[in-house]
Subunit: 120 residues, 2 copies
């Protein structure tokens, strides 16, 4: 299957698909002349990538999963778990930071009000 069909089926752009290959997320892509030939396995990987991206994972987070899957031919559940747990921990931190920031913004608003109370 050519890249256009893959793009159509997965929703990933042709550019993106070549990019995944370039950074090692897609392996064993054969060629017919200069045209890349993809198989169903590639479709699965690309769909997985898109799903993980939608969940906030970066491509570099996804790489270990794909590589282990490829070299050991099994889905590395423990890696997936720890990636998910790490992500959740990060989200918690982000939320805390956001709350602190919000409080600082409130302070700043009050501070401004006091500063300019009689000048405007």
């Amino acid at each position: 299957m050519y890249i256009g069909k893959v793009s159509e089926r997965t929703g990933a752009s042709r550019k993106a698909i070549r990019h995944y290959e370039e950074i090692g997320l897609l392996l064993d892509i054969s060629r017919s002349g200069s045209y890349r030939i993809y198989n169903e396995h590639h479709i699965v990987i690309i769909s997985m990538i898109k799903r993980a991206q939608a969940l906030g994972f970066k491509l570099s987070d996804i790489a270990p999963l794909v590589l282990t899957k490829h070299t050991e031919n099994r889905f590395p559940l423990e890696i997936a778990y720890s990636a998910i747990d790490e992500k959740r921990a990060q989200i918690k931190l982000d939320i805390e930071k956001a709350n602190l920031l919000d409080m600082e913004l409130v302070s700043m608003r009050e501070e401004l009000q006091i500063l300019f109370l009689d000048t405007e």
Copy 2:
């Protein structure tokens, strides 16, 4: 005062200070030969920039404040307020999104567990 002194007093790097000038955050910088000459007003602006950055504002958010201050010679309180309010609204949205994401991550973890329950 030369740029090195400004950098020392404000904590902004020389690179950063020239960058602020380049994008229009610092105006009316005079020259002595090829050397930039700064005054106390510039120190105030740069300190303000650093503070706003620490609160999560982008340089492009800060620009309207600086420009209005320059053209009208008054601090645009209403612009500052709306910037702060916008930022707070954005933070609220971010927090909501983060919570949703967290729930999806939990679902995904469970989904994986079910998928691989008997294969590993």
